[in-house]
Symmetry: C2
Subunit: 239 residues, 2 copies
């Protein structure tokens, strides 16, 4: 083999590594997305069997995180990627932390579902949980799609959807607080719904973070802490 | 210059880079620690001036995160660290995310302090906020100390302290819920205290994460998701 062949062979193996890393991230994302769907369903349908299922899948998510983390570190050590490839590995390292925390929040929702089945369902808030649940599931899905296709516009959509979730969340909270005041006996049950909404709102934040990792990855631009409109202008303007 | 000198020169610059990276992490940590102290103080003393101060310092924390993040990426790209050095850069990359999120939570507490000063203070829960606040401040401080000295035992202490915080948090929550049921007019004000306690509990989680990054860094062992006693045995047993 001459030198050129050796180097193209190495670079092929490197690309395979990166592709595999990305596939593993997307697989982990698929599992986490499912955890959120099932967590929300177990709560709104008072299905404790499904909730227990979510709780027992948590280990799988954690194992994914540890394995991908190790893969990233070993790609950094052995392949010493530069520029865009390096950004991709760093983006994956960060995205798995967000995915793992989404899994944690789904697990909390499943825990609340079990509590609500045992202690008696809350009188209000299920519509809101279902609705905000759908919104954040869609955000996770789009954020992962954006990662798969390096799609910056889709990633920006996710960042904007997070705003909409925050608005709905605040309005649901106000309603539930009013409800608790009107019927104090419901407080502890309604609080469980409030915790579930909080978990969903956090999931939205993490989905947004993942979308931001995509933008950083593609554009080399760090949009955390930046104003959304300014980003949109600069990213789409230069796209 | 002969080859040996060149290489020792490069390795000196590399060590300087790593030391600087660590110093910047500790500087950021100092600022964040202060944010938590001031956030808690602004709430329990109903000091909205201090709360506004916390809120305006958030930008500084964000800037730290972005700069250190960039430093880490450039050390990875230019110096291509291996083994322990690589683990250190990865640990710093992760620790700054946790520090930034601690800053976010401190900011939320400051926001609640302003709300409570405007809407009227809550009738209960200040003792608990102060107390849990002290516990998590100490956790942050110890976690950063553990980073500074690569001290695994201290890091394990932080992980154990997180358990104690969770227990106190749960007991405080039960009391506040009982209180809201007894006096429904207090609900929305007591909820603000509940949010503050939640923020503190999250800060404890992040401090624990930072401590775990130290253990990973020193021992090359990933203790996330592992049982605390098993870790203690294996880490201290092999120390």
């Amino acid at each position: 083999m001459d030198n050129e062949n050796v180097s193209s062979h190495i670079s092929k193996r490197f690309n395979d590594d990166l592709q595999e890393l990305k596939n593993h991230l997307l697989m982990m994302g698929g599992v986490v997305e499912r955890q959120v769907t099932d967590g929300v369903l177990s709560l709104v349908d008072a299905n404790s069997e499904l909730a227990l299922n979510v709780r027992s899948n948590e280990k799988q998510v954690n194992t994914f995180e540890l394995n991908i983390d190790e893969e990233c570190t070993s790609v950094l050590a052995l392949r010493q990627p530069a520029a865009g490839d390096l950004r991709m590995v760093v983006a994956i390292l960060k995205a798995i932390t967000d995915l793992e925390r989404i899994g944690d929040e789904a697990n909390k929702i499943a825990k609340l579902a079990i509590k609500l089945t045992e202690e008696g369902q809350a009188p209000r808030g299920y519509v809101e949980v279902r609705h905000i649940g759908q919104q954040v599931q869609e955000m996770i899905h789009k954020a992962l799609d954006a990662f798969a296709r390096f799609d910056v516009e889709l990633a920006l959509e996710v960042a904007q959807a997070d705003r909409a979730v925050d608005i709905e969340y605040n309005s649901a909270m106000r309603q539930l607080v009013t409800y608790m005041m009107e019927d104090p006996r419901s407080i502890s049950r309604v609080l469980n719904i409030i915790w579930a909404l909080r978990a969903l709102e956090r999931i939205g934040d993490h989905a947004r973070n993942i979308a931001e990792h995509v933008i950083y990855l593609v554009k080399g631009q760090d949009i955390r802490h930046a104003n959304l409109d300014a980003i949109k202008e600069s990213v789409l303007g230069s796209a």
